[in-house]
Symmetry: C2
Subunit: 373 residues, 2 copies
């Protein structure tokens, strides 16, 4: 009996908001034989993964590992472990992912205090300062690279403000990690999460996270159980840390392999070289798009190199052009989300998708489809 | 810079409680190029996956898919979507996974009513009947194949009792699915979850689930938000169902590929042939182990074919033998969990690990290590 044929999808150039193109060495790594999740050889691989993640997050935090689910579960892991019912949480919102944080805060039974900025603009530290005069939050959370708008958020000043009032500083680095500088320890970040399918260029399926000693202390002093069994770090960490590893759930072995190889590729390239590559290809794309008449959503100063949000020109049909890019040229770009649906395209140059060739091909295809204006 | 070498784990014979050996076609499937999680070609692959899962669960349920995390998150998905604070839930406990269900029920703010049986014995329907006379639960939950003890639980009678009092019937088929008969619709199961790394023989990383129309109705009538954003099916199902797929989180593309290929292999073999293979190899192992002086924990009638729980003979050092099996013969078997730690071995013959060769090799290795008694 058969209900499906062998997988045979068309290879694409992934230039949307993620996943990005995956290196053949990462694809090959997933064909490594599956071994047991408590096998001493697998424990060694986990330890290497933790060490490489520390390097990428630029942290010395002991509690650094990858959650066994996708990036959004990394977000949820941070909030459900740090918040208890009745806590106050200050969330900075200037796009889809700040909204998502707010939703999770309410599901934790915590009190949500929002600081909003317009979509496409960063959060102004002055706003946070004013908000902090009127509340006493357990944590301040913000998105480093808003995937829905293309904004790069400066973090240091807001991090200091959070610490000045005794709050933890929680940062979403889903789209920034591996593509631009992330300095967890230098910037005073207490809890951080990311995802492999953006600038790390591994397939989606895990969520790198790290917690400062202060964040760990807050978790250890909880009075209530974490609402999620699956994401409860008081148990999960006994599997990822220590001499004797305790079974909690079965880790996604092949995803660990993929992330391990993707991190090895990043270390081989070197962080500075990689960040410079992302900046250079962003500029190449920007120049080409501007020649075609596109306008960027975000001011130059706050523009992400790996996620380019541009206005869809008047008279250009959003769905038609994206479909033609996909069907005729095998190029995927991202639609607008939320407030930006139908108005904005999100063009990703992430990890292995950040190359001159990707830029040239997209520009040529766009030129052919919508014409040289 | 380098912090880790290329992956080079020793290939093992996986004869523990999971993961099981993964077919080379499944490993190869993960090397399929990653495409976008909203790519029309990926949507088709998701639809095929759903159809194959329906075949495996023997259900017509529309809401049948795979959660983007490992099996334990499948368990959590069922409970957090069906229970609300203040609901009563009757949980049958005769091993680790019934205990885990109970823990999750309490984290949902629901009232836990337990029916306990000794580890190694099934739940007696009479016990459930008595318990139901004294409570009015929203759901009755039970484990079909207790991975911690090797017990196969008859389901039909308890399912009828649950329905007679208007409760939903929730069943854990993590270890049974793909290795022995699971008939969701015939047995009146309203919510079911499983995992790919047991008798399906795909790598861990997703959790197949299915929900009856009645269970869907209960979800749709919730008064409170699901406590987990990541597992909230009111949003997740908009990505897995319908003409227009709505982004919720980025699906683990390569894990979907792996599960897709593993399900194709199951359909090619045929369910009856596959179940018979599991039964036959279990009997071969049983005969061999009994010749070596091993005793099974579970009565013949309730013994799982894919998970063989045996007493560790007197004078045999648990850790030493398991380490020698792994180091000298590359064979992994499972330690005892919970009450059975140090007293029991769990020998898996799951999916691709259920072959005559696996049985012969394990018996030969055991004979060499602990001697012919």
């Amino acid at each position: 009996m058969s209900l499906a044929s062998e997988l045979n999808p068309t290879a694409r150039l992934l230039m949307g908001p993620g996943p990005s193109d995956v290196h053949y060495r990462v694809l090959k790594a997933m064909a490594t034989p599956v071994i047991g999740h408590l096998d001493p050889q697998f424990i060694l691989i986990m330890d290497e993964l933790k060490e490489m993640l520390r390097y990428l997050f630029r942290t010395k935090n002991e509690l650094t590992f990858a959650v066994s689910a996708t990036g959004s579960a990394g977000m949820e892991t941070c909030f459900v472990n740090l918040l208890e019912p009745g806590d106050d949480a200050l969330i900075c919102v200037n796009g889809v992912f700040g909204n998502r944080m707010s939703d999770i805060v309410e599901r934790c039974g915590a009190k949500l205090i929002r600081v909003d900025a317009p979509w496409g603009s960063p959060i102004d530290p002055e706003q946070v300062k004013h908000a902090l005069e009127k509340c006493n939050p357990k944590l301040v959370a913000i998105v480093h690279a808003e995937t829905s708008t293309g904004v790069l958020q400066p973090l240091e000043e807001i991090g200091k403000m959070a610490h000045d009032v005794g709050a933890l500083f929680l940062v979403d680095t889903v789209t920034s990690l591996g593509g631009t500088d992330v300095r967890m320890d230098d910037w005073g970040i207490d809890a951080i999460y990311s995802a492999p399918q953006k600038c790390i260029s591994a397939p989606p399926g895990m969520a790198p996270v790290s917690f400062s000693p202060q964040a760990v202390k807050v978790m250890e002093q909880r009075k209530t159980k974490v609402q999620s069994w699956y994401l409860d770090l008081s148990m999960v960490r006994k599997y990822w840390e220590g001499a004797k590893r305790v079974y909690h759930h079965t880790a996604p072995i092949s995803m660990v392999y993929a992330l391990h190889e993707a991190l090895r590729l990043i270390l081989e390239e070197g962080l500075e070289v990689r960040f410079e590559r992302h900046r250079r290809n962003h500029e190449l794309l920007r120049d080409g798009l501007e020649k075609l008449g596109f306008e960027f959503i975000v001011d130059t100063k706050y523009r992400l190199p790996m996620l380019n949000a541009v206005k869809i020109p008047d008279g250009v049909d959003d769905a038609v052009v994206r479909r033609r890019l996909l069907e005729e040229f095998n190029i995927e770009i991202g639609a607008g989300l939320g407030d930006f649906a139908g108005k904005v395209w999100r063009i990703g140059l992430m990890g292995c998708s950040s190359t001159e060739n990707h830029v040239f091909l997209l520009l040529a295809a766009l030129k052919k489809i919508i014409g040289d204006k």
